[in-house]
Symmetry: C2
DNA sequence: TTGCAAATGTGAGGATTAGTCGCATTTTGA
DNA sequence: TCAAAATGCGACTAATCCTCACATTTGCAA
């Protein structure tokens, strides 16, 4: 147990590749590893995903897998980061130019629908956010992501209601956003009909809080 | 809506004791096992809990542990069941006699506070609901529990607004309840100040939905 | 009391799987 | 060209869940 790897203290050691692929060849292999992991998570869930199976499906050896990912969580993390970056861009775009209540109504409703569809359609996201919450680092990524997204909403609120207490607006934005994530997670875990009703009810509830206060 | 816990699909097959302790001696030993598991979960989280450690701390052998619990999840499940039963009784009591909007305001506010305090104070609950969600059976227990609790709320709503569409009321009750659980989980994972603000904001939001529609 | 079946208790070992390590092969760059 | 760096490999180690064959205790009918 003589530590050659110990140098890095925290987050880098947790989530970043053990070694960055610098050659074209290895970059492609890393992509294959991620694709294999993604497929396996979609099929069985991240918990049941076996590292050996990822390696086999990617056509690489176990050793190569661990060359670029320090541990199993790092692979899931890497996928989660991609999805959050993607959805953040989407959210930012949807809310960037909103500056009045009516615009918020429209954009917010669309946004929730997009989010709902995304979760319905993407098994990996579904698993990562509802299944692997056991992982502390992932929970923190989600929380940070949630805050970042809530900030887009907060920016809109500040434009619409410039005189309101900023702390109150921040609380409202964060809460409403987090509720939305919970609503979507709930919606995808029940029958489709009920899920649709729940998402619609959430939209009403959220908008009432956001624009009718 | 019979106010009774609806039996989940194959909960017995998944989680029930492999063998029911019939002698006083073994009943006490099972209690010791659960107590040990509870303590370990509080200290390290259910994921890091080791079966060997549970056995050692309970003063029994590994074999005895598996005599009464078919697997690791069963121990966590058994603890989760106790807590949900406890909190359901509490919720039922708080909402049983509410029959008007003002009563709901008062009781709901108290209820949320109790829930919040419970999560703040009880590390095992905290871990089970935020950490071990990777376990499918536990997710289902939570969902069933959530529905059962929402039913108490639904009963109140039906008394207060007898003319409203029952499906809509059901959706509202279920959503509001689920949002509450999400709000509390969120609140305990941030700074205390912010958590308090979030819970307060949730209360306002929920009551507006429940009594001002 | 006695005898015996059922209940309970035990812990070494089987089975699985995350992660390591020394060495082989390929690429880079001077 | 060729040495150093990067990449690739897979048998092996370690940790951990859980089983199983056997030992011990308890309940109870004769």
């Amino acid at each position: 147990m003589d530590g050659k790897v110990t140098a890095k203290p925290d987050q880098a050691a947790i989530a970043s590749p053990r070694r960055s692929p610098s050659q074209q060849r290895s970059r492609e292999r890393v992509e294959r590893m991620l694709a294999a992991a993604s497929a396996l998570i979609a099929e069985q869930g991240s918990d049941a995903m076996r590292m050996g199976e990822v390696a086999e499906r990617a056509g690489v050896s176990i050793g190569s897998l661990y060359q670029f990912f320090p541990d199993k969580r790092a692979i899931v993390w890497a996928l989660a980061e991609r999805y959050t970056a993607e959805s953040q861009a989407c959210i930012s775009a949807a809310l960037k130019d909103v500056s009045d209540a009516e615009g918020l109504r429209r954009s917010f409703s669309e946004l929730v629908d997009i989010y709902y569809q995304l979760f319905l359609a993407e098994p990996v996201m579904r698993d990562i956010w509802s299944g692997t919450q056991a992982d502390k680092a992932l929970r923190e990524l989600e929380l940070a992501d949630s805050r970042a997204n809530a900030d887009f909403l907060l920016a809109v609120l500040k434009r619409i209601r410039p005189d309101a207490d900023p702390i109150e607006l921040e609380t409202a934005a964060f809460l409403v956003w987090q509720m939305g994530e919970a609503a979507v997670r709930l919606a995808i875990s029940v029958e489709r009909d009920e899920g649709d009703r729940l998402v619609a009810a959430y939209k009403r509830m959220a908008l009432r809080e956001l624009v009718e206060e």
